[in-house]
């Protein structure tokens, strides 16, 4: 009975979305206040209905109701309780439900915090979100119903994909989805602005915190995925340029560009049209990501089953949303006012270069991801595009960006003497290069990579600190949350560079055959295999190694690398034993038994690898902190709209 109610709730949510989209948009066009007033209640109703549907599906997992097909396909009676909660989003249908729930949360949040918006803007923004919700809700209800019955009910279900039975996986998809779908808000603001026919600084001021928060969540989601791949896949790598990773990375890059261009447009009125286009592009890339992962267009890539019906549906939806938005843009953008002129040496120029590089990187990832399909379509022969393409091009595009990061905040708007920020930063550049040279001679291996890594990270770190210092010293000028967020984000880049570049230069890996009692040494670390035992997990059996790690001959940690065989399906999973350290991780993974109690063991020492995720965490934090700036909430609906760019006061 309950699953049927869940399904009914989905359909009612679809009705609410229809009301939320059609009435307020028509009301805004015709000036009918009562129609516009439907938007908020409809948004709240959607959230309530979807929360209910989600709770029903969760309950079906907890109670192991195998008469629901989705439950039977993705869990069995051995599945531990905590994974019954997370199994809800373990496959296509449930993760779509989570997706629309996240959309409803953003929707309700906009409804709640849009009281200061003029009624017409609010109606248009919520109306556009409603249109998007219609698409996803009908996709869910008509092609991917998670409440389908399986009668007669089987006695036992299959299992949740073992890859997903992991704490890191519990939070990774929700974070990612919050980020992905959060870009609907800047998108809706952009469409509302185009419908309005003007970009005033106000819509940007309202849209900015939403963009920052969505981007922050996306950063967290990608970070968790990378961390999970690091310890669960047992490879010790942290990024693979897998098409599904790329699908989340494209909106991240576009979102990073959007954050910067929104700031420029809000403060200076510069490149307003570009900012609108970028808001559309960022959300389009989120939709494209959802499409690529779920349509089966790139097969043999990820776990969601291919279904042409779903693929066509979501493609039609994608084409309608993106095509409609772009058509509106092409029609309306030429009428937008131009921003103030700016000199070649100015912060505007730097932001433009930032946007150019981030967009180019995004296009590069898009091309690489779709190229196999393109080559197939044009009968150019069959190709695969791998890390060499992505890695090389990405470094080429990001290196100039890293060089420019410290300059941006120190450069004035509109016009700047190029020598001033350069003079401020020169000593720090010198220090960064000098310490890089020290790294060159100190490094036990990979001296050149070490030197580049140290210099690049210090250049960004010191340059950002230089800006923060000069702001703090300058009396009478506030250090706003917006500025703090920027400093945190840029510091995050520095920390990330330490991790990414030094782990590349300094990591050591050895494959050794070890019998109990044997030791192997890597630099300051010594690994001793104490033994391997057979353990029984809830739904798997595992060989669990006991590896004692010493650093400088003092005991450091006891690692338990596992090799699990899951009961249903027989999939083998490795669970590496990792001792996490601020300056290095010690990593052991079990390979094959070699007979006579000996095992193949893979040992790694990964210096600074934690800094990769710490850096991402700082960037996300930067996004969140920026969003708390009161300035974004200050303008009341009644005050006259300041002309775009009229407020440049916060530098």
């Amino acid at each position: 009975m309950l699953p049927e109610l869940g399904q009914a709730a989905l359909l009612l949510a679809l009705v609410a979305a229809l009301l939320q989209a059609l009435l307020p948009l028509a009301g805004a066009a015709g000036g009918r206040a009562s129609w516009m007033a439907v938007a908020r209640p409809a948004a709240y109703a959607q959230l309530a209905l979807l929360l209910f549907a989600y709770a029903v599906l969760t309950l079906a997992f907890v109670q192991q109701d195998f008469s629901v097909k989705y439950v039977a396909d993705n869990s069995n009676s051995l599945l531990p309780m905590v994974y019954r909660f997370t199994a809800v989003w373990g496959a296509h249908e449930g993760s779509m439900l989570l997706w629309v729930l996240m959309l409803a949360v953003w929707n309700a949040a906009v409804a709640l915090w849009s009281r200061r918006l003029p009624e017409v803007v609010m109606a248009r923004v919520l109306g556009v979100i409603g249109l998007v919700a219609i698409g996803f809700l009908s996709f869910l209800a008509f092609t991917s119903n998670p409440f389908l019955r399986l009668l007669p009910a089987p006695l036992e279900g299959h299992d949740l994909n073992p890859l997903l039975q992991d704490p890191g996986m519990i939070v990774h998809p929700p974070m990612l989805y919050v980020g992905y779908i959060g870009f609907v808000v800047p998108f809706a603001f952009a469409i509302a602005a185009l419908l309005e026919g003007q970009v005033d600084a106000r819509w940007l001021r309202w849209a900015r915190p939403w963009t920052n928060v969505a981007w922050g969540f996306l950063t967290l989601g990608i970070m968790l995925g990378s961390w999970w791949a690091y310890y669960e896949l047992g490879w010790g790598g942290w990024w693979f340029w897998d098409p599904v990773e790329n699908a989340s990375f494209m909106p991240w890059l576009a979102g990073a560009a959007l954050i910067h261009s929104q700031a420029a447009t809000e403060k200076r009125g510069s490149f307003g049209g570009w900012t609108l286009l970028l808001a559309i592009a960022t959300f389009s890339l989120s939709l494209l990501g959802a499409f690529l992962v779920r349509s089966g267009v790139l097969t043999s890539v990820h776990s969601f089953a291919a279904d042409p019906g779903r693929g066509l549906f979501i493609l039609a939806f994608l084409a309608a949303v993106i095509g409609g938005a772009l058509a509106l843009y092409v029609l309306r953008a030429p009428g937008l006012p131009q921003g103030r002129p700016f000199a070649a040496a100015s912060r505007e120029t730097l932001l433009l270069v930032n946007n150019l590089l981030l967009t180019a990187a995004c296009a590069m990832v898009l091309l690489g991801t779709l190229y196999p399909l393109l080559a197939d379509a044009l009968a150019l022969g069959k190709v695969s595009v791998g890390p060499p393409y992505f890695g090389t091009l990405f470094i080429v595009l990001m290196a100039p960006l890293v060089l420019l990061v410290p300059l941006g905040p120190l450069t004035r708007w509109q016009q700047e003497q190029a020598s001033r920020p350069l003079a401020l930063l020169l000593p720090w550049l010198g220090l960064a290069l000098a310490l890089g040279a020290v790294g060159y001679f100190m490094a036990p291996q990979g001296p050149l990579k070490t030197a580049v890594g140290v210099s690049a990270a210090l250049w960004v770190g010191l340059g950002t600190a230089r800006f923060a210092w000069s702001r703090l010293r300058a009396s009478g000028r506030a250090f706003t949350p917006e500025m703090l967020g920027m400093v945190l984000g840029h510091a995050g880049i520095a920390v990330f560079l330490v991790g990414a570049l030094l782990v590349e230069a300094q990591h050591v890996q050895r494959e050794v055959a070890m019998s109990p009692g044997d030791s192997a040494r890597i630099g300051r670390y010594e690994f001793r295999l104490e033994g391997v035992e057979r353990v029984q997990g809830p739904n798997y059996v595992a060989d669990r190694g006991l590896v004692q790690v010493f650093r400088d001959d003092r005991p450091l940690a006891l690692l338990h690398p596992e090799k699990r065989a899951y009961a249903s399906g027989g999939q083998i999973m490795t669970d590496a034993g990792i001792h996490a350290g601020v300056f290095a991780d010690a990593f052991a993974a079990l390979g094959e038994p070699l007979g006579n109690g000996a095992w193949a063991v893979r040992l790694q020492v990964k210096p600074f690898v934690r800094w990769i995720w710490a850096g991402a965490l700082l960037m996300a934090l930067g996004g969140f902190v920026t969003a708390t700036d009161r300035r974004f909430r200050r303008v009341s609906a009644n005050s006259p709209a300041p002309r775009a760019g009229a407020r440049g006061g916060t530098d």
Partner: protein
């Protein structure tokens, strides 16, 4: 200025339509229950000749002629390929039945990664051939991993599958294909 705008609009429209067209093509191709329904030009023809190194014995080269006399299944994989991980238990179970020799074709990989992969997930292969620059793969028409070819005792390609082999593909396509060329159960 106006000319620029028309140009910009045209570029936006072209990119958009190009992308939609490409994705539509992708959906329509994925529509076929199995992408290799596009019949491989190799089927019914002799397998390409090759001479490839062996993963576990660097230095030894295996010639395609050495494989004649008994049918074999050529399974293209790489340690970097998630789909290969998915099909690995199925391939392993098939190999354990000893019904047919399963030859691994380690494609665009690194030696250490490939060894580690086999070490971790188990090695179901009778023999693993190595093609790291992917030059021979072109002759086979390999365009993704995993991909699997069935070659009969005379060296003729009899069946091909693109994408992971799951239980359904095994039961529906591969086992009948084995029966069809008379591989004893």
């Amino acid at each position: 200025m106006a000319g620029n705008r028309h140009l910009a609009s045209a570029v936006i429209a072209a990119v958009f339509l190009g992308l939609v067209g490409l994705l539509l093509y992708g959906v329509l191709v994925s529509d076929r229950s199995d992408r290799d329904v596009l019949p491989s030009p190799l089927i019914g023809k002799p397998a390409p000749e090759f001479s490839l190194p062996v993963l576990h014995e660097p230095g030894r080269l295996v010639d395609s002629r050495e494989l004649l006399g008994q049918p074999y299944l050529l399974n293209v994989w790489g340690s970097w390929c998630p789909g290969c991980r998915v099909e690995h238990p199925v391939i392993t179970r098939l190999a354990e039945t000893k019904r047919i020799r399963v030859v691994g074709y380690n494609w665009k990989d690194e030696h250490a990664d490939a060894m580690r992969w086999l070490e971790q997930f188990g090695n179901p292969y009778w023999l693993v051939l190595v093609d790291y620059d992917g030059r021979k793969a072109i002759d086979w028409g390999i365009y993704g991993a995993p991909e699997t070819f069935l070659v009969d005792a005379q060296g003729i390609v009899r069946w091909k599958h693109v994408g992971p082999i799951d239980e359904a593909v095994l039961e529906r396509d591969l086992l009948p294909a084995l029966d069809a060329i008379g591989v004893p159960r």
